[in-house]
């Protein structure tokens, strides 16, 4: 644990144990989404599915990166990941992004993907609001993740015909925002 780093956050009035619990829940959401997106990506095949495969893969890798980036902050603040993976799965901040009953229904696949991203956008917005001007490091991390989640939402939302976002696919490395926490 980073003793003074935790103390500084406590001094702002933030309930650090509660914040850590929220970070653990979001770390779970990221790792479980990485897992469920693997299954979605494998099933994104055929004339319609192939076109989605690449962004699903980018979102999948970036979600795993989010898990990697959240973990050190949890331990710095005196928290830890649950020893039991089943417990970890069940405390996720977002519902499982399960494969639709009919995986050839590409709209159903897109709905699962966009709903998962929307849950994440909501969650990190809450965490940013909670930490803004108080816990600078957690805020910086959550803001970086939020930037990527918003782009993921936009990619899938465009495919659903909800209007343009002005985004391109990633060019170059994944995690342009969160990358600084992974080096």
């Amino acid at each position: 644990m980073a003793k003074v780093a935790r103390e500084m956050v406590e001094k702002t009035g933030i309930d650090v144990d509660q914040l850590v619990a929220l970070l653990v829940k979001n770390a779970s959401a990221e790792l479980t989404t990485f897992y469920y997106y693997t299954i979605l990506r494998v099933n994104l095949i055929g004339l319609e599915g192939e076109g989605l495969k690449e962004i699903a893969e980018t979102a999948r890798i970036e979600d795993r990166n989010h898990f990697e980036a959240l973990t050190p902050r949890i331990y710095e603040l005196g928290g830890k990941l649950p020893g039991d993976m089943k417990v970890f799965h069940d405390i996720s901040a977002c519902p499982p992004a399960s494969l639709p009953a009919d995986p050839t229904d590409i709209r159903a696949m897109l709905n699962v993907l966009v709903e998962a991203e929307r849950c994440a956008v909501r969650g990190y917005t809450y965490l940013c609001n909670l930490t803004a001007g108080k816990d600078h490091r957690t805020y910086d991390l959550c803001l970086a993740i939020l930037n990527e989640e918003i782009e993921h939402e936009a990619w899938f939302s465009e495919f659903l015909g909800e209007g343009p976002s002005g985004h391109f696919l990633r060019r170059g490395d994944t995690s342009p925002w969160v990358g600084k926490f992974l080096r």
Partner: protein, 82 residues
């Protein structure tokens, strides 16, 4: 079922713990969120608990009351308590 009236004391028994259903009140209506992954054991994001009137707490949430429409209304909060 929709006609059922709950007092705050009755509602508090449906806190999602030890197999009890998870019911929450919002603007006088009582919703059953037991089926939600995000309300397991009656706890939502470690911040909110079932078995209570959460009308005031939704103000800080990163979502609107729209999401409540995913769940059935099982009664109304007793008038005296609203």
């Amino acid at each position: 079922m929709q006609e059922r009236q709950f007092t705050i004391a009755e509602l508090s028994r449906y806190n999602g713990k030890s197999g009890a259903p998870a019911l929450i009140a919002y603007h006088g209506l009582v919703y059953d969120v037991s089926a939600s992954f995000l309300w397991q054991n009656g706890s939502h994001w470690v911040l909110h608990g079932a078995g209570a009137d959460l009308t005031d707490e939704l103000v800080d949430a990163p979502h609107s009351a729209e999401l409540l429409k995913r769940f059935p209304v099982v009664g109304i909060l007793h008038h005296a308590d609203v």
